[in-house]
């Protein structure tokens, strides 16, 4: 459980973070969304003390982060940034081994952990491990950055626009990977992004920031259906609202008994995917893989709160 209590960070007259209080549940993915200058990156850096607060404090599992020396704290928190910041003079393997080395892990354990992480992120340990960052592609560098952050099995992972530099195809895959990793490792993730669609897709809860304050902190469905202010509503946008809302609903919630013809959909697919398939195939109803079916009418009904 991560607690932000009355957190403020001022730079002279500028209130980069203005009296923010949030409670983040362990094992959840929380997105902090806002436009540039909203203070979201500052807020993130207050958690691992890259920036110190002007007032207020941060607790992890009830303990104030200020009670621990900063370097020690940061070794327990993973950190991923948009430009990944890989050390150019070290191999990929050594980059990933950074924190385990700082913690004094035995060499064999480090070696195994590096291989494990590279494989987890679909990178071949034998070929990628000995390479230097400048020899990697953008997508590979991003994945190595994530591997490096996860190396010491942190309970908390902080990410600042981690997928911003990737093209749309890679971005989707990277987001899938993140969800999969989170499922496997159960890490608490705090993710900063300016992309609302990404936030809706990934998060258990979203905090919308503007001018240093949190305007709304709620589940994605609530952000969509009951935006707390005009700003939040503008951020979501009216254009894709219904489809985004549908993307939060798995078909297992809308299945009804019965048969239908056509290509079966998975139970885990979202209502948005189902509606897209039905429009494209010009069908009114489609079957599900494990039995049952879903109708277009049910989808359309589910599309509004």
């Amino acid at each position: 459980m991560i607690g932000l209590h009355d957190l403020s960070r001022h730079y002279g007259d500028l209130r980069a973070v203005d009296d923010v209080s949030l409670m983040i549940e362990a094992g959840s993915i929380t997105s902090i969304v806002g436009t540039s200058g909203s203070g979201k990156s500052t807020l993130l850096r207050l958690v691992n003390r890259l920036i110190e607060p002007t007032s207020g404090h941060v607790t992890i599992d009830g303990k104030d982060v200020h009670g621990v020396p900063a370097p020690e704290l940061r070794r327990r928190i993973g950190y991923v940034i948009q430009d990944h910041g890989l050390f150019p003079h070290w191999t990929v393997a050594r980059n990933i081994a950074t924190v385990p080395e700082l913690l004094g892990w035995p060499k064999a354990r480090i070696r195994d952990r590096v291989s494990e992480l590279l494989t987890l992120l679909s990178l071949d340990p034998a070929t990628i491990g000995p390479r230097f960052p400048h020899q990697l592609s953008g997508g590979q560098m991003q994945r190595v950055g994530v591997a490096r952050a996860l190396a010491a099995k942190p309970e908390l992972l902080l990410m600042d626009e981690p997928f911003g530099a990737l093209d749309p195809l890679l971005r989707g895959k990277a987001q899938d990977d993140l969800l999969a990793i989170q499922q496997t490792l159960g890490t608490t993730i705090i993710l900063v992004t300016h992309d609302m669609a990404e936030a809706i897709r990934l998060s258990d809860k979203i905090a919308v920031m503007r001018a240093g304050k949190v305007e709304q902190y709620a589940r994605p469905s609530e952000i969509l259906s009951r935006p707390a202010s005009d700003f939040v509503q503008d951020l979501v946008g009216e254009g894709e609202r219904a489809f985004r809302y549908l993307s939060l609903i798995p078909l297992s919630q809308l299945v009804e008994p019965g048969e239908a013809s056509g290509t079966p959909l998975s139970r885990n697919a979202t209502a948005a995917e189902a509606l897209n398939a039905m429009i494209w195939q010009n069908m009114e109803v489609l079957p599900l893989e494990d039995g049952g079916r879903v109708t277009r009418a049910a989808l359309l009904r589910a599309g509004h709160p």
Binding site: I81, D83, L86, F132
Partner: protein, 243 residues
């Protein structure tokens, strides 16, 4: 320069140091009537070693002090001295090496010590400047990443910042060393032991052969030393493509 020419130069220099009389026919045309062709007032090899010792004796402490100062000026404790250090290095660039030598003699008298001090002071600058440039020129993302991984400031300095700044620092050491090699010759005017002795002797006795021996030997040493620095630079480059 290519490896072959470097090897050839090494052979020539070695031959001259061991058995200079081989070169007599080449140098004879430059010698005035009746004067010795090869410098004979002292052993050329020992002069060469003394010269190199002078340069090393100045450059090694200069590197140590300059890099330490460069690190200090970058740290929070020393940051208030950064503008002053910038002005000083700017001023120091204008200070002619001869003037440094001239000003140390009244303090330390004649001989090797004033030359050593002058070479030390003058050698500080390029190394200091390049250390500061190297440390400030690091990618901020990489430095932040090092911090975020949980490195203490000292670990950051030794594991990330210094290794990445090293190519630039090496450039500074290279410039300093090559300039020192040349400036050390002037030290012989104030009786420092070195290859300048041969040149000065040639100037005073109007023996061009002496001037050529001393001058070309120093030049050859400079070229070879530059080659050594190049080799070291190449070895460390591929591992740090960009800061």
């Amino acid at each position: 320069m290519r490896g072959l020419s470097a090897a050839l130069l090494v052979v020539l220099v070695g031959a001259f140091l061991v058995e200079p009389t081989i070169f007599t026919p080449l140098l004879a045309p430059l010698t005035p009537e009746g004067a010795p062709v090869i410098y004979d007032r002292a052993d050329i090899l020992s002069l060469t070693l003394a010269h190199l010792a002078l340069v090393a004796g100045a450059m090694i402490p200069a590197t140590f002090v300059a890099v330490t100062l460069g690190i200090f000026v970058q740290s929070p404790a020393g940051a208030s001295f950064l503008p002053l250090s910038r002005s000083l290095t700017g001023f120091g660039q204008t200070f002619p090496p001869v003037a440094v030598l001239a000003l140390t003699v009244p303090i330390l008298g004649f001989g090797t010590w004033p030359t050593l001090l002058a070479l030390f002071l003058y050698g500080l600058l390029p190394v200091f400047e390049n250390t500061v440039a190297g440390l400030t020129g690091l990618s901020p993302t990489v430095v932040e990443a090092a911090k975020a991984m949980g490195m203490t400031p000292r670990q950051r300095l030794w594991r990330v910042e210094l290794p990445l700044a090293f190519p630039l620092i090496l450039q500074g050491i290279r410039i300093s060393t090559l300039v020192s090699l040349s400036t050390a010759t002037i030290g012989s005017v104030v009786a420092a032991k070195g290859l300048g002795e041969i040149i000065v002797a040639g100037l005073t006795s109007q023996n061009l052969s002496f001037v050529a021996q001393g001058g070309l030997l120093v030049a050859a040493l400079a070229v070879l030393l530059a080659k050594v620095f190049d080799l070291v630079d190449q070895r460390i480059r591929p591992n740090s493509a960009s800061g």
